[in-house]
Amino acid sequence: MNAANHQSVRVEVRSLRKSFGDQEVLHGVSFNVEPGEIFVLMGPSGSGKSVLLKHIIGLEEPDAGEILIEGQPAHSAAVRDKFRMAMVFQSGALLNSLTVGENVGLYLAEHQLKSPAEIDRVVAEKLELVGLKGAEQKIPGELSGGMKKRVAIARALVIEPQLILYDEPTSELDPLMAITIGEEILSLKARTRATSIVVTHDRDLAFGVADRVALIAEGNILLVGTPAEVKKSTHPLIQKFLTADFKPKQEPT
């Protein structure tokens, strides 16, 4: 687990099926994410995006099919020990009993990768990156939703991951902060060639950072392609999803 190890990883998802009770959430999902790629997943709410990410990070085991990280099953202990991976949860999932600083430095502290002074320095640097300079001593309970999300992003960046999963990283952020986060997603890739999978509803973010985009609806992948290919798609649902705009209805007079 040394910092110099920036080998990026390949993710393969093969006919993944998952049910909760008698509700099947994923109906045989397959795609590959190439090493160093930024792969964006879009799709309607409830289509199974978060469940899919949890499988890739190894929190859930597939009912059928498999997920391979560099050829090894994602939920195996070997994968976790071998590769640095991180996930930004949709809810942030900060540890409420720890301060912001302790949350961000948790990975380094628990794995004893750096001295306490160095951890403090890295934590301060990452917090500044997400616009939360000097928030170390705050506790998660006193943060706004967007601030929690940014702390969660800082916590994931500290890991210097080889594979990073973002679950709606910008959903609670203002447009300027969303741009900053988008830039950081790109710069992480430039710095470390990390493989990134981004779930988002934010079309600007998606087409701004993506190498490839996948659309998922009701537990099926509809389409995978480069942003240009996806934009050209004639699939009605995809067109609607990508171009729909809010228009106030005209009141009949």
Binding site: K54, I57, G58, L59, R80, D81, M85, A86, M87, F89, S91, A93, L94, L95, N96, S97, L106, Y107, E110, H111, Q112, I159
Partner: protein, 249 residues
């Protein structure tokens, strides 16, 4: 159902034991938990055991005095407190006070995905959450028991001295107690309370970890943690006493 739970408990306990070599790494968390347990329960332990000793003297005192056995009162109260009453009742108290808190804290971490977050950071929840709590409670409960023994005896002595029907002075109470109660009797209680502490810690952490379903789920886990701990304490109490009495012969 019961067997599956027991199996999971044993596995959790075994995994925690295997993690013991990592204890030094987690020493800060152990200390935190230890002081939290102490702070939360020392006063309650003292008050409770004062009354336990008192009520024991009140129940047995008049009967024994009537039969001319007043000389043995210190010994009876002393033995009953340190061998049985204090270990069992303190464990029940700690199950209610600390076991519930452990289940609630870990349960809310499970519900709000904090444990998932730990896993994604390759931090083992058993090492991070269970190990420090289990070690802290199994040191703290026996230590609290020593306070409970002393305060319990004091409670017994106070009642004996002040109750008109009993009227045995402090001195004769404690002289008899010292004659009858041996170190072995105190150790007997300590061994039991150590076992109870492990039961409370394991049951409560286990219930916390398997919590699902929001605030209601947390409530359910807390109730189960306390009830299951108390059942475990009483059942273990019988079998451990049986075993220890055999060994003491």
């Amino acid at each position: 159902m019961i067997f599956r739970d027991l199996g999971q408990l044993l596995i959790l306990f075994w995994r925690t034991l295997q993690a013991l070599p990592l204890l030094w790494r987690h020493r800060r968390k152990v200390a935190e938990q230890f002081f939290e347990i102490g702070n939360a329960s020392l006063l309650m332990v003292c008050i409770l055991s004062l009354f336990i000793g008192g009520v024991l003297a009140l129940e047995t005192g008049p009967v024994m005095v009537e039969r001319g056995l007043s000389n043995f009162l210190g010994g009876i109260v002393g033995l009953a407190v340190c061998r049985q009453l204090a270990p069992a009742l303190m464990a029940v108290l700690i199950a209610g006070r600390i076991g519930s808190a452990m289940a609630a804290e870990i349960g809310s971490m499970a519900v709000y995905q904090e444990i998932d977050a730990l896993r994604t950071m390759n931090i083992n929840p058993t090492h991070y959450l269970v190990l420090p709590r289990l070690v802290a409670i199994s040191i703290a409960l026996p230590m609290l028991l020593i306070f409970a023994d002393l305060v319990g005896w004091l409670g017994g002595a106070m009642v004996c001295a002040t109750n008109q029907q009993i009227a045995i002075g402090f001195n004769s109470f404690f002289t008899n107690l010292r004659e009858v109660v041996e170190v072995q009797d105190i150790v007997h209680g300590l061994i039991k309370s150590f076992a109870f502490a492990i039961a409370i810690g394991t049951v409560s952490c286990h219930q916390g970890l398997k919590t699902i379903g929001g605030p209601r789920g947390i409530g359910r886990s807390v109730t189960k943690a306390v009830v299951n701990s108390i059942i475990m304490i009483l059942v273990l109490d019988y079998f451990l006493t049986h075993l220890l009495v055999q060994l003491e012969k």
